[in-house]
Amino acid sequence: MVAKEITRPVAKAPGNAWLMGVAAWAIPGLGHLLQGKWVRALILGGSVWAMFLIGLAIGGHLFRIGPNDQGVSAMLQLLPISANFGAGLLYIGCWLTNTGFVEQAQRVTYEYGNTFLLCAGLLNYLAMLDAFDIAAGRKP
């Protein structure tokens, strides 16, 4: 049974699916929009955009490796950075414009903001996989 599962041939994903995956990661909702899945694009993209913008607005901060982060401290930043990075160009745009990296721990909603920002990226990874699966024909 196990051997059967392991040797089962896996359908190769077309190049278009990888492109949709990258588009979905880069701009939340775009991967579904390009495939004509308007409702999914609106809900997924809208949710990720809303979470990211709300996270910034209520005092959350994005993570990056700063000049003071050395050794273990730098390593500890990698997990939240990878979560933030899931937001695609939203994160990269903030990184280029140096927006949202200042810690505002004095604000009551600081931790909520961080959670919103981290989860926006993580949820966009899910949306990206969904766009990939639809383009590869694995999902309706």
Binding site: R40, I43, L44, S47, I58, Y112, C119, L123, D130
Partner: protein, 57 residues
């Protein structure tokens, strides 16, 4: 009230995404999304009350 509001907003946005990427019919996915939303709220309230009685200070 502010904390509950942010928590509910977070739960609703997350439940939207979970519901949309789930497999099944539209009806099954809507029910799944509602279930995820309800689970977030219930677990948050239960944990909140547990933490309330713990002497953490």
């Amino acid at each position: 009230m502010r904390h509950v509001m942010w928590m509910a907003l977070f739960a609703s946005l997350t439940a939207f995404v979970f519901g949309v990427v789930a497999k099944g019919t539209d009806r099954q996915r809507v029910i799944y999304g509602l279930k995820v939303f309800a689970e977030f709220l219930v677990i948050a309230f239960v944990l909140g009350w547990i933490l309330y009685f713990l002497p953490l200070r």
